[in-house]
């Protein structure tokens, strides 16, 4: 098969040179498509990171009244900690709450801290959930716990003794779902556009070589022998496109990411090496697939053997 391989590569190169405008067009569209796919994937990675970091901050705080019976508090803490939905429960004493408050407030408005005479902050239980989506279910459970009413900050209005960011979580999930759907649709559309472009490039390559193909058939060249250079051409075009897209993404990641990170320090914007290797692999594989499928479509329609 060694002559065949040489033949196929030579044919593909000759084809590429002969139809370089068309081939270049196909390469550029694949490049742009895969670049956008890459950007979408990277965005999706970043969004996932952001969501995760926000999710981690979602917790339920139970405020405890001053002078609550400590065995009641412990019993509530144990009951909540045993629940399947709960990852961890942490007791934060009045003193610790004050210290955290001071730390957070000191920088921005030290005068407030200075004005504090006694400790106005309640002790609390910080409940972290395994899955933040279960936050409301957990709130109901806590409210039903008899110890909760005994120790809570405002027994007259139990809801006020619980703090959790229900709305934020809901909105965030709705948003990430929309982002995911939009990205998927976008990627799907781009894949279709790339397929159309490859299909077109290969169709024109077939058209440009129809005379050779006719002669090859006539002298008895095998069907796959005739098809392979075109498939290979589609794959080579999309691999070049994929390589360019990966290179561009690499440059963007190296040059732009740190600056974005500086501008938005509160959001985890980084795409780590593993993720970018995975994205590169996805681009190469989808490039090869797009090349093969696009060329195969063209062969089916325009190359009857």
């Amino acid at each position: 098969m060694s002559i065949n391989l040489g033949y196929f590569i030579r044919e593909s190169v000759v084809n590429f040179r002969r139809n370089w405008v068309l081939s270049l067009g196909a390469v550029i569209t694949i490049y742009l498509s895969l670049l956008l796919v890459g950007v979408s994937l990277a965005t999706s990675v970043v969004v996932t990171n952001i969501v995760k970091s926000v999710e981690e901050k979602v917790s339920i705080q139970i405020f405890i009244k001053d002078g609550a019976n400590s065995s009641d508090v412990t019993s509530l803490q144990n009951a909540v900690a045993k629940d399947d939905l709960v990852k961890s429960v942490r007791y934060i004493s009045k003193e610790e709450a004050l210290r955290i408050f001071k730390e957070q407030t000191m920088k921005e408005s030290p005068e407030i801290v200075e004005q504090l005479e006694d400790n106005p902050l309640p002790a609390s239980l910080d409940v972290e959930l395994k899955d933040p989506r279960n936050v409301e279910q957990m709130v109901v459970k806590i409210k039903a716990n008899p110890d909760f009413l005994k120790v809570c900050d405002r027994p007259d209005k139990p809801e006020e003794s619980l703090k959790y960011s229900e709305q934020t979580v809901k909105k965030l999930f709705a948003l990430t779902n929309i982002v995911r759907v939009v990205l998927a649709a976008f990627i799907g559309m781009l894949a279709v556009v790339s397929l159309i472009f490859i299909n077109n490039a290969i169709r024109l390559a077939i058209y440009a070589r129809r005379k050779e193909i006719g002669i090859m058939r006539l002298v008895g060249a095998g069907n796959w022998f005739i098809r392979t250079p075109f498939l290979l051409e589609g794959v080579i075009q999309s691999l070049i496109g994929a390589a360019l897209a990966i290179a561009t993404l690499g440059v963007v990641r190296a040059a732009l990411m740190p600056r974005i990170g500086e501008a938005l320090p509160f959001l985890p914007m980084s795409v780590n090496t593993t993720a970018s290797l995975q994205i590169s692999a996805v681009l190469v594989v989808s490039g090869v697939l797009i090349g093969l499928v696009g060329a195969a479509f063209a062969l089916r329609r325009y190359l009857k053997v």
């Binding site: 002559i3 002669i215 006539l218 002298v219 008895g220 060249a221 095998g222 069907n223 022998f225």
Partner: protein, 278 residues
């Protein structure tokens, strides 16, 4: 007026002649009915004395307008046969059926013992490697030299470089073009281009060579040279089938002639002539 005889091979392998004039079949011994060159001994041809068998072959491109109707053709190995007829009489259709570029609407086609109609499509290239073909428009690649055009045909069926380097110059010598080996088609005359295309068809030494109007674009003098070349190829044992409407040529060559009219076989004659005046 229809004269001449058709030919069929019976189950016993003996032929019989069909008198169109009288409408009766007259049995004759097979060896009397066809004096064909003996194939080289030990070759593929010897075990396959019957090269082409077409029976009840009809081809309808569109309904109600057949291109071929009930055609029966038997051609033995080593024969030289003309298919004649007006333009549109079905000659090219017959050639394309033999190349399995087309499938017939009805009938059976067997080439060198292989059922062409039931043949799997992946086997078709192997059938074509055993059939050389030549066309009116030469079908040469303009960006390749004479040598490269022939080498291309060998290369795409996976012949080694060694085979290509030895066989291409040899076949170009055979067709009398050894000094045009590096010429591009547009540097060659029509006759020379047709010689290159014949060289390409013959370089594999196929047992069967089909030619569709090989002299259609050539002047009479050049045409005669091409026909003589095809005759020489036939002498090597290759069966040659030529579709043409070149009356003078057919009359000069005195070979077997099968005449088509409106897709029907109207005549099959040894040492025949074109036969009718337009």
């Amino acid at each position: 007026m229809v004269i001449g005889r058709g030919r069929e091979t019976g189950a016993n392998g003996r032929g019989f002649c069909y008198h169109y004039a009288s409408g009766t079949a007259l049995p004759v011994p097979a060896d009397e009915s066809r004096a064909c060159p003996r194939p080289p001994s030990g070759s593929f041809l010897e075990v396959m004395p019957r090269m082409i068998h077409m029976r009840n072959v009809s081809k309808y491109y569109v309904e109600d307008k057949p291109a071929l109707v009930d055609v029966d053709v038997e051609i033995q190995s080593g024969e030289f046969v003309f298919i004649v007829g007006h333009s549109g009489s079905g000659k090219s259709t017959l050639i394309r059926l033999l190349l399995r570029e087309l499938l017939p609407t009805t009938g059976e086609i067997v080439i060198a013992g292989q059922d062409v109609i039931r043949m799997k499509s992946w086997k078709v290239p192997y059938l074509r490697r055993n059939i050389g073909c030549v066309f009116q428009d030469f079908k040469l690649l303009p960006n390749k030299t004479a040598y490269e055009n022939i080498a291309f045909a060998l290369e795409v069926i996976g012949k080694s470089r060694h085979v290509i380097r030895t066989q291409v110059p040899e076949v170009l010598r055979l067709v009398g073009l050894e000094d045009k080996i590096d010429s591009y088609p547009d540097e060659l005359s029509g006759g020379e281009q047709q010689r290159v295309s014949i060289a390409r068809a013959f370089v594999n030494r196929p047992p069967l060579l089909l030619a569709d109007e090989p002299t259609g674009n050539l002047d009479p003098q050049t045409s005669l040279g091409i026909m003589k070349l095809l005759e020489r190829i036939n002498k090597t044992g290759t069966t040659v089938l030529i579709a043409t409407h070149d009356r003078e040529m057919v009359d000069t060559m005195r070979q077997r002639v099968i005449a088509l009219e409106g897709g029907r076989m109207i005549r099959d004659q040894d040492r025949g002539v074109y036969g009718y005046v337009d």
